[in-house]
């Protein structure tokens, strides 16, 4: 279980204007500013939950994950992970958690991943038989076989990320903090990692807190999402609830066999996008049956999809609102 109560992390940042004279002046007189990276965030995540942690750049997502994993001491508030205060970094806690950062590597750069795995085995004091079994399982699931003996520096980004995941999971943690685990990966690799995280969560009843810029990751993996902006929590709930609350209309996408005028389409719903005969309309949910009937009956439609609005769009609106409310 993860619990944050009024959690805050503030940084003191040296600020100076650009330019040579400002640089020289800053030698004698420095101006500091307090940045509230996380500002009174509270939430509870139960064991086995998969939660997406969303927010624009600089919202405080990674800082929160670092506080929860014990890397940062909070300025105020409380954090409790698996019954431990993370900042104390007790062995019992470190044995149960992991943090994967897409842009930081725990693999020893000049050595093959197998050496990092061996190091982790020793440091986490894993019995050899158990370690071998877990490693074999991870090697199979993530298809690591040919990568284990290659120096880390010679692995591609996707290969490295798979090896990072294995290194992070060798000690079979029950709480996973995943910070952009699919960043820079191609679609196939993103899917592979997504599937792997889901199956790990199910097999180990592991708690997953995930940040990702790829909304598909979040939609596919996380029934619940927490949204923060400027260090403050602005939404905590299930994904469908958020979408419904922010934009209850559906997106109806279809391809026509012949061109139809925009005016004609506007009678069915709000025209959001048009690429030749490929159309996307915004339609209130209650009107869906009649709109679908009309499309199939009156127009020549070759395919049809009814979807929720994309999460990116919802978040854009949400962050825009938050900004407007914060403005004086």
């Amino acid at each position: 279980m993860i619990r944050a109560r009024e959690l805050a992390k503030h940084f003191r940042v040296h600020k100076r204007p650009p330019g040579f004279s400002a640089a020289v002046r800053s030698l004698f007189h420095r101006r500091y500013e307090t940045v509230k990276a996380v500002d009174g965030v509270s939430f509870t995540i139960e064991r086995g939950e998969r939660v997406g942690f969303l927010g624009p750049n600089g919202a405080g997502k990674t800082t929160t994950l670092k506080v929860l994993s014990g890397l940062l001491h909070p300025t105020s508030g409380e954090a409790l992970v698996e019954g431990h205060v993370p900042a104390r970094r007790q062995t019992e806690l470190l044995q149960k958690i992991t943090l994967v950062m897409g842009q930081k590597s725990q693999l020893i750069w000049d050595l093959p991943p197998a050496d990092t795995y061996e190091l982790n085995r020793a440091v986490f004091d894993l019995p050899r038989a158990e370690y071998r079994k877990t490693l074999d399982e991870l090697t199979g699931l993530l298809e690591l076989g040919p990568l284990l003996g290659k120096p880390t520096r010679q692995l591609s980004l996707g290969e490295r990320m798979k090896c990072e995941l294995a290194a992070a999971l060798l000690h079979q943690p029950t709480t996973l903090f995943l910070d952009e685990p699919t960043i820079g990966l191609d679609v196939a690799m993103q899917l592979a990692i997504r599937d792997f995280v889901r199956s790990y969560n199910q097999r180990h009843e592991a708690t997953v807190l995930l940040t990702s810029h790829y909304m598909d990751d979040v939609v596919a993996l996380c029934p619940r999402i927490i949204v923060i902006d400027a260090g403050k929590l602005i939404h905590d709930g299930d994904l469908r609830g958020l979408i419904k609350a922010m934009d209850p209309d559906k997106r109806v996408s279809f391809t026509l066999t012949e061109r139809v005028a925009d005016e004609e389409l506007a009678k069915i719903g709000a025209l959001l996008a048009r690429d030749g005969v490929r159309i996307t309309l915004r339609v209130p949910e209650r009107e869906i049956p009649s709109v679908v009937g009309h499309l199939l009956g009156e127009l020549r439609v070759v395919d049809l999809a009814i979807e929720d609005p994309p999460l990116e769009e919802i978040l854009r609106v949400m962050f825009g609102k938050a900004k407007q409310e914060a403005a004086p």
């Binding site: 890397l71 940062l72 725990q106 050595l111 004091d125």
Partner: protein
């Protein structure tokens, strides 16, 4: 107790991985060995001076060319066994946020770094030690000590010198939690080390106040003491005093390292990622 047992069990693997890291880059490894050869430069300089002008220390002990050869080759050997660069490594990992990954492992970074550096010692010494040893035996052996007590204490003295050096360097590295960039501090450390440790000049050739300062500062105990045990005839009382000072500095520097870490890690900003 459990934690200590876990750290002890991890040591063989930490050493094995440390060895693998040390030998990963052969060219860099050789260049690093070359950078430890400053004592050979000093040796060349002082033996040529000593062959022209008779030298003697403040206590009246004469210094011949053979004395200089023995001294600087001993310095080379001890420096090879005790030198390390952990301050730079800790400081960079703190500054760049790479320390995060170490902090997620249930092992104190002091142990992890120390094992990785200890693993490098035999390899770093692979080239320098046989050469220095052979030269020492062929040209300076006559002035090496034959005192059994000093020879017996040489091993613990080198071990303590290593521990003091490592702990001081670790403390300096941990200062990066407070000042972010510690390169200037490292340069200052190296300057003071060169002056007070006996790296540039034997302590008994240093001017009075520097020699007195060297007595109480930690640097001499990172290098000078084991070198003196190898090259000087010391009375029993003096040997005991030097060893006690060294032991005390080992305890103080270790405490400083762990204290600086404990205070510093609370300020860690885990940048990046």
């Amino acid at each position: 107790m459990i934690r200590r047992g876990r750290a002890l069990r991890a040591i063989p693997t930490l050493l094995r991985v440390g060895v693998a890291e040390t030998v990963a880059y052969r060219a860099e490894f050789l260049v690093w060995i070359l950078t430890t050869t400053l004592p050979l430069v000093m040796l060349g300089l002082w033996t040529s001076v000593a062959s022209e002008v008779p030298f003697q220390s403040g206590s009246g002990k004469p210094y011949s060319s053979a004395d200089f050869v023995a001294y600087y080759l001993s310095v080379l050997i001890v420096r090879n066994l005790t030198g390390n660069w952990v301050a730079w490594q800790v400081s960079e990992e703190v500054r760049m946020g790479a320390m995060s990954m170490r902090l997620l492992r249930p092992l104190h970074p002091f142990v992890a770094y120390s094992m990785s550096h200890l693993a490098a010692v035999p390899f770093r010494s692979l080239v320098a030690l046989p050469i220095a040893g052979a030269l020492l035996i062929s040209s300076g052996a006559s002035v090496l000590t034959r005192e059994p007590l000093q020879l017996v204490l040489l091993v613990p003295s080198i071990a303590l010198a290593w521990l003091i050096t490592f702990s001081l360097q670790f403390t300096l590295g941990a200062l990066a939690f407070f000042v972010t960039k510690t390169m200037a501090l490292l340069n200052l450390y190296f300057l003071m080390f060169s002056l007070f440790s006996g790296y540039l000049l034997p302590q008994d050739l240093l001017p009075g106040w520097i020699a007195s300062a060297a007595e109480v500062l930690p640097f001499r105990y990172t290098l000078g003491v084991p070198v003196e045990l190898m090259t000087h005839e010391l009375d029993g009382g003096r040997v005991a005093a030097l060893m006690l000072y060294q032991l005390a500095w080992a305890a103080v520097s270790l405490a400083m390292a762990l204290w600086a870490w404990r205070l510093g890690v609370k300020r860690y900003e885990a940048v990046g990622g």
